[in-house]
Amino acid sequence: MARTAEVGGVIRPVDGRLRALATRTRRLSEIARESLRNPTTLIGGVIVVLFLLMALFAPLLIEPNTPNAYQMPRDFSSVNVPPGTDGHVLGTTPTGGDVLYGIVWGARTSLRLSIIVVAITVVIGVAVGSFAGFLGGKWDEVLMRLVDVFLSVPELIFALAIAAVLGPAFGNIILALAVVFWVKYARIIRGQIIHVKQNEYVDAARVMGDKRWRIFLKDVLPNSITPVVVQATVDMGHVVLIGATLSFIGLAEAGLAEWGNLVSEGQSGIIAGRWWVATFAGAMVFLWSLAFNLLGDGLRDVLDPKSERR
């Protein structure tokens, strides 16, 4: 009987789970390879790698400021120095910060910001999404309405309002972004669970007394990996873009080596011809965000061209 064979597979869940995960992971790498065939995705990927290298090897590129390397080194005796002045390849800010330092260590700040935010939001999103999906009924309704409420406020505005309440600090920007970004992951996971729940095959597993977490590990998680990875890739760029915007508006921690902060510091100098601070730092935000977007878009294209639809 055909069903026995299937149930037999369920009886050895670890095996099946691993196999499913392995398949998914293999599929992911295939997808990656396929996406990179698209030249734009490849460009995105290359820029991402360059940024990651810059962030990882920042201490080798420029000696870190002490005691806190994420603070700009300030030389108040040479403020607003143009690019090429000795010791300041890309010039300095109005508080004497070296722009090159800000660019290089800003990459590290951006990496820190995006990884922390994406990690937090994926965890929260997966947790809320699974609750809603598995508990179903009223819980699902309530949690999904909550998600809808969160989606009713445009991202930047929401994050801006939160950050404004919390005050200017790097930690607060992380918090604000985390509060805003988790909802998409909750939707992805919940959708996947609903999908799996409707699957007859899982009913069979349920009959055999399979635990929810097993279903989750075995069916939901492997199926969700790809959309979550794509969303996370896009968010890696998006987080930095919105974070920089918040910094620009004035919610950055004082003296932090962060690109948005640099643009905001350099902005008022533009009229006096001091273009370098805002231009270089802004270009970094743009490139970072563009690279992750190209990469994410390429992945999405290969996976499911329709997934942009809600």
């Binding site: 005691p67 403020v79 508080t95 004035g250 921690e253 905001s264």
Partner: protein, 569 residues
């Protein structure tokens, strides 16, 4: 003697969208380049004069009032700068000096002219006849009494009614044109600091009564958004966040103004500066850090002569509540009780970085009594950076090896934040175990924390309020029982709190100038030895206006420009 100077408002509101409007700035920059054509288009000036916006005096400020009601406007609030153009007081201060001159009172009361009683408690003001308000109503002694009583009765927390209610025992309208005041106790500064204070402005009784009247503790919405006074300019309209419009009041009792006026709200500093360069504005209020942009500007007059009487201050909290400090702070609550630590901070701070780097040279080292104020002593000791001494003092205090971490609360502002950063860099460079966390917050968050008692941070950065009499600086900022002395617990730190308190009190008890100076000369070194603040610097007071402005006069006591005096073309 609370007179205030213009910079205060600048400082307070300059945070306001400091990003906004580079754009406007850029436009104006473009306008500068193509000046000839642009001015023609924009100004539509006549062929003869080279004047933009003829007939209107355009004054660009980096913010706008939160209220226009003299009973509600706070000290240093933008509203005060509009109120002084439209409302008048019983006395005024002329362009030339600090002495009060007659305004709505036809005579300034003195003991000589018999209008001040011998005990110094009763002041009689003869009220000028034939003065009409902008709404057509007549000025009488009753209206004067009404105006003063109104402010005291409303007693709005943000307003300055206490200036009146703390000194006045009774007000009386003796007859239609005689107004009498009885004080609680003699006050030599009554006319200059109380009669000429914002809540003492004379408002139209008719306007108030027909628009909600007076209710204790309740703001009057009409008066918040309108002004009905007797002054040379009449309030016309307020386009929120854009501009306020004023016109010449034709029935003015005195020398009428020649130009209508416009208050242009331009939140972005650089835009203000460029607007002046382009000739769109006739005069501006601006951050002195932008002065270099104006130095060579054609057609612009720049005056950086004086100093603002608002030294920057960095406070030590000697009254830290248990468990209140931010989690990262490692200092004990009595950290700043140790005089050596306060001295060490004073020696560590890089004053040159602030004055030469951030202020671009437009500042001077500051001390406990600013220059120009009675008691200022050029020879009084002033801190300058001395890292060896700082290290020695930290070692002596026993915090060198262990180190510390402390947060300083700063308002998000282009001048305050760098002070925090300089402090951070100065202290952290001394010793890797030392940590300063600069906590930048929005203006309202700062005000909230700053207004909380007890204050929940170890340090804060702000600028002092400006006063004309040294006593107010000393009592507000140095006296162990003064406003800040009490809140920050100076009594816990002063070696001799009683001696300092006695000296400060003694300096106010006498009216003899020489005697006061002698007292302050004794006091200043004591404050230097036992510092409760760091004074990073004092900014210059910069004025800039177009060359075509005729009759430019300015008295720091006005708090702002007085449009009535200016003409152009």
């Amino acid at each position: 003697m609370g007179w205030v100077m213009g910079g205060s408002a600048t400082r307070r509101k300059s945070v306001l969208a400091r990003w906004a409007l580079v754009a406007a700035a850029l436009l104006l920059a473009a306008a500068c380049d193509g000046a000839a054509t642009d001015t023609e288009e924009l100004g539509g000036e006549d062929a003869g004069g080279d004047v933009n916006n003829p007939g209107v005096f355009v004054h660009a400020l980096d913010g706008e009032p939160t209220t226009l009601d003299p009973a509600r406007a706070a000290l240093g609030e933008y509203g005060e700068q509009a109120i002084i153009q439209v409302y008048e007081f019983l006395v005024d201060i002329g362009p030339d000096g600090p002495e009060p001159i007659p305004a709505l009172a036809s005579e300034v009361p003195t003991e000589e002219n018999g209008l001040v009683s011998e005990d110094g408690l009763t002041y009689t003001f003869p009220i000028r006849e034939g003065v009409t308000f902008h709404d057509g109503s007549e000025l009488t002694a009753e209206v004067v009494k009404y105006s003063w009583d109104r402010a005291m009765e409303m007693n709005l927390p943000e307003g300055q009614a206490s200036t009146l209610s703390d000194t006045i025992a009774e007000t009386r309208a003796v007859d239609d044109f005689t107004f009498e005041v009885t004080l609680q106790q003699p006050n030599a500064a009554f006319v200059s600091s109380v009669v000429y204070s914002t809540p003492a402005a004379i408002v139209s009784m008719e306007a108030v009564e027909s628009n909600g009247g007076v209710t204790a503790d309740e703001p009057n919405e009409f008066m918040d958004g309108n002004m009905v006074g007797t002054g040379p300019h009449e309030f016309i309209s307020w386009e929120r966040n854009e501009q306020l419009n004023f016109e010449v009041f034709d029935d003015y009792w005195g020398e009428p103004a020649t130009l209508d006026a416009r208050w242009q709200n331009v939140p972005e500093e650089s835009a203000i500066v460029l607007g002046l360069r382009a000739g769109d504005y006739d005069a501006i209020q601006f951050q002195p850090t932008f002065a270099p942009e104006l130095e060579d500007a054609e057609g612009v007059v720049l005056d950086t002569g004086g100093l603002l009487l608002e030294p920057f201050q960095l406070a030590f909290n000697l009254n830290i509540p248990e468990g209140a400090l931010p989690s990262g702070d490692t200092i004990p609550t009595d950290f700043f009780h140790d005089r050596r630590i306060r001295q060490a901070f004073n020696f560590a701070f890089d004053y040159d970085a602030f004055i030469d780097g951030i202020l671009g040279g437009l500042g001077e080292p500051a001390t406990y009594i600013p220059p120009g104020v009675l008691g200022y002593d050029p020879d009084a000791p002033v801190y300058s950076q001395d890292l060896e001494q700082a290290e020695q003092l930290f070692r002596d205090a026993g915090v060198w090896d262990e180190g510390f971490s402390v947060s300083v609360l700063v308002e998000d502002n282009p001048a305050f934040e760098p002070i925090g950063l300089i402090l951070k860099d100065s202290i952290e460079a001394l010793n890797p175990e030392f940590r300063i966390n600069v906590r930048t917050v929005s203006e309202s968050q700062f005000d909230e924390a700053h207004g909380a008692s007890p204050f929940e941070y170890a340090m804060w950065i702000k600028n002092a309020d400006p006063f004309v009499d040294p006593h107010y600086y000393l009592s507000t900022y140095q006296h162990p029982e003064g406003e800040w002395g009490e809140r920050l617990g100076f009594a816990n730190g002063y070696e001799n709190p009683d001696e300092i308190a006695e000296l400060i009190d003694a300096g106010f008890a006498t009216t003899d100038v020489a005697e006061r100076e002698a007292i302050y000369q004794e006091l200043l070194p004591m404050l230097y030895e036992d510092p409760m603040w760091i004074y990073p610097a004092q900014e210059v007071n910069a004025q800039a206006y177009r060359e075509w402005v005729d009759g430019f006069v300015y008295n720091p006591l006005w708090k702002t420009l007085r449009w009535r005096f200016y003409d152009k073309g």
